[in-house]
Amino acid sequence: MSTQLTLQAPLDVPPAEVHPYLDQLWNHGLEGTTGAATFTLLIWEPSWLEQQMVRIGRIDGPIRGLERNDLIEAARLITAECDLPFSTAPMDPRLAWNVGQLAGHHEAQDLRGQFIPNAISVHTPRRLITLVPTLDASLSLETMVAAYCPLPDEGGAGAACGDAIVLRGGMDALRQGLPLIQPLIDEALPCWVWWNSSLDEPPEMLESLATLPRRLVIDTSLGQPARCLDVLVGRIEAGQAVNDLNWLRLRSWRESLAMVFDPPSRRDALAQVVQLDIDVEGDHPVKGLLLTAWMADRLGWHLIDSSPTDEPGGISAEFQRTDGTTVRFRQMPVPVGLPKAHPGAIVGLRLICEPADRPALCVILCSESGGCMRLESGGMAAMELVEEVVPLPEENEEMEMARLLGGGHDTTNPLLAAAAPLAATILPR
């Protein structure tokens, strides 16, 4: 893995001089190197929770904008103080907002945009542009520039280098700085926009940054469920290449479920599903709905109806299989003591299949932390039972993002494109 070698300390450059400075840097300062012919990565990086937690002194600075273990742990501890349920995920935007109501005036250096996670740097971005809004809305725009080269494996000549640009300030200042961005993006290279924040934030910034044909990366676990799904569906329908980190985190669930039905002896059962139950952490339903919609799409189910359950936070729905049989669906929030970092993580899934000439098959998948006990109840003994524990690797956002960058992904994953509109329809409004 190549290491990032910063050629210079990030340099404060007045906004108007960023472009001329970069021209000069590449034409004179980096002789013998070439700009990496890779991509531009444009990041919206407010890190509200990290900023607030540093402000109230619960974690130490500097503010780096990366997902950090101490931040997650501190966030779990402060949930009760904020009068939020224990099931509140550390990255839930409501937590950041609630922490914002607590008193504190600690200050720390703000190094957002200046740390390049190794997982991302190995893909040698040509240009990283990070927009970092500050808690102090009145701050004016600051711009910083740094060049970097990967440490070459062989020799030192001809390294393909990149640069990093940080735009920092209050929201108004950043809005004013938006015109700076377009000239910094090389149109010959792909451009990714990583909206590393809640989708509830004022939409005009997202609209300004994530224009076509830029590839958009969002996280539908962050924000109001309806808003998250609407953004996702809207962007897909507009023809944008959209990647959803929440969808990517479903990978092991999709893989585990597919694995259960890989043996040809079980394939028939997939056409005989009569019931699907999903348990999720907390009250964010999007992840569970995306998983349901993926299955429904793959198995050709047609949505008949959906509604909230009598118990708060749940969703029930009815699908019709291709043979006309009804499939009952129910998704319930489950209280957990140690929630995953992102809202709405799946705890367990139960699929009941009733083949005509064989005993019913019950498939239960559950997460390592969740256990299967709740889903095991209710007459499972009479069925053939397949239980699998879904491994949930602890991968942070940077790792997920790096996976996207490494994979190319210049179009929306067709499975996501098919599942997202259906998930939006299942969500009761």
């Binding site: 990978r251 893989e255 890989d262 043996p263 040809p264 793959r298 190319g408 210049d410």
Partner: protein, 507 residues
């Protein structure tokens, strides 16, 4: 593998790496390999949506074909696949081009360079090029020189060259060819193909060994008594007599395919899963491998040649009666040999390799036979307990099998062997890709993990040098034993193991 209905939940789940915009240039495009393997593999990649839209195939050969002729000939060769996927072919074939090129003509290379620039503009392939040398082996070196002289290999990041087997005829020629190739391109640009490494089951040897904890602790001289590697073919020489007469089974199968399987079976665990770490370990184990008797190599190798056989209803002619074969040919169609690996893990464990044409079954497998239990407590149904075996089935019926002793039903305490099996079909029920699909994708991705590095090729040739020299200088010491077509080779091959008190597994 049998083809079953796809698991609907499996569709689209593979996490495939995405190939960058690319032009693949096939030299020898009028040859068999192009329409039998390469273009079908590329079409398969296209259908799997693993090729970017900015993609082109440029066929090159001496014949004065046009783009349209090339498309139509490739279309004719893929008629069955196209019938199932006509619109995919329609799209794919728009990226097929042809340029008449003689690699020995400098002006042709200039024209080729211009054509490639045109294709870059037309298909947005951004100068990323994979040159595939599917030409006669004697043109590998000159082909690379010609590409380098035309500046087509100058960009080490964007250009690669894939070289078909055989890479050299012996240790000396392989060294020489490596020198030529490495003078033209960096090692990272050179992809020496061995299509056996593209097989899922060959790659599975790595996963079986290094993703499980149950095998590796016993994968050594303390537990394993011997290893047999077999690649058996039912077919004869068919229409390859011209090539095969100069090559024989040793060069055609053993030096590359069987040796690669040997390396994967015997290598040490790599520190990480990347191309260099794996190829380092493969090279090391091949460098430690020796013929069981280097001073008297005729004692550890048996050559054979199939004679007529088959049934009265379907008689099979002998090798010497095949079209294009010298009536007095001494080319071996069967070879079996015994090797040792002189390292800590494998000291004293014999590795038996065999391959042949016109054998009773088409199969490739690795059989690890474990040592006998130190004390026999029970009567065995067969007189003595059968040694445990782990069988890795590479083809057909891909999978693995463990043979072990259990109590036979009844009042006594007799043991008998049983099998515990894993089958790709039963567990996954999906056909695996043809080896070229994986390997072509890897070459275009710049991933050389499943390609052979220069030192591996040289080590493989060096391993068999005593045999090749013997065949060259004193062939009477390594005679070609005739064997009846559709039998398991000459009796002398049985003696090779019989002398050690062992026998070949009869699959």
């Amino acid at each position: 593998m049998t083809t079953l209905l796809t698991n609907p939940l499996r569709v689209g789940l593979r996490q495939e790496r995405v190939i960058t915009p690319q032009c693949i240039v096939i030299f020898g495009a009028s040859g068999d390999l192009t329409h039998r393997k390469l273009v079908p593999a590329l079409f398969e990649l296209f259908r799997q949506r693993r090729l970017p839209s900015e993609f082109a195939v440029l066929g090159c050969a001496r014949r004065p074909w046009s783009d349209e002729e090339f498309r139509s000939k490739m279309g004719a060769a893929l008629a069955a696949e196209i019938a199932d996927h006509p619109s995919a072919w329609e799209q794919f074939s728009q990226g097929l081009f042809y340029e008449p090129v003689d690699l020995q003509q400098a002006d042709h290379l200039v024209r080729l360079g211009q054509r490639l620039e045109g294709i870059d503009r037309l298909r947005a392939t951004r100068g990323n090029r994979t040159f595939y040398l599917s030409v006669a082996p004697e043109f590998y070196g000159s082909g690379c020189r010609a590409l380098a002289a035309a500046g087509l290999l100058a960009d080490a990041e964007r250009s690669r060259v894939v070289i078909e087997k055989p890479f050299g005829r012996d240790y000396g020629s392989a060294q020489q060819l490596n020198k030529v190739v490495q003078a033209c391109a960096k090692e990272s640009q050179v992809f020496r193909i061995d299509h056996y490494l593209g097989k899922e089951t060959v790659q599975n040897i790595l996963v079986m060994r290094f993703a499980n904890t149950i095998f590796e602790p016993i994968w050594n001289r303390n537990y394993i008594a011997n290893v047999q590697i077999t690649a058996a073919e039912t077919v004869g020489v068919e229409d390859r007599a011209g090539y095969y007469e100069n090559s024989g089974a040793l060069r055609d199968m053993v030096q590359n395919h069987l040796t690669q399987i040997l390396a994967l079976t015997a290598m040490e665990p790599p520190g990480r899963f990347d191309a260099e770490a794996i190829r380092n370990e493969k090279a090391k184990v091949l460098q430690a491998a020796r013929l069981a008797n280097e001073d008297e190599p005729w004692k550890c190798c048996v050559r054979g040649q199939y004679s007529s056989g088959g049934s009265r209803a379907r008689p099979l002619s002998g090798y010497r009666q095949e079209p294009g074969v010298n009536a007095n040919s001494t080319t071996e169609t069967y070879v079996a040999m015994k090797l040792f690996i002189n390292n800590w893990r494998w000291q004293g464990v014999p590795f038996y390799l065999r391959t042949g044409k016109r054998l009773p079954k088409r199969l490739s497998e690795v059989v690890l036979t474990f040592r006998q239990a130190p004390v026999h407590l029970f009567d065995a149904a067969g007189g003595a307990p059968t040694p445990n075996q782990l069988i890795l089935r590479i083809q057909p019926d891909e999978g693995a099998e463990i043979k072990f002793e259990v109590k036979a039903p009844g009042s006594g305490m007799r043991s008998r062997p049983v099998d515990m099996g894993f089958s790709y079909d039963d567990s996954f029920g999906e056909p695996s890709d043809e080896g070229y699909v994986r390997l072509l994708a890897d070459a275009m991705l710049g991933d050389p993990t499943l390609y052979t590095r220069s030192d591996e090729v040289e080590a493989a040739w060096r391993l068999y040098t005593p045999l090749l020299e013997l065949i060259e200088e004193a062939p009477w010491q390594l005679p070609v034993h005739p064997y009846e077509a559709r039998t398991w080779g000459p009796a002398a091959a049985d003696s090779l193991l019989g002398d050690d008190g062992l026998g070949w597994r009869r699959p």
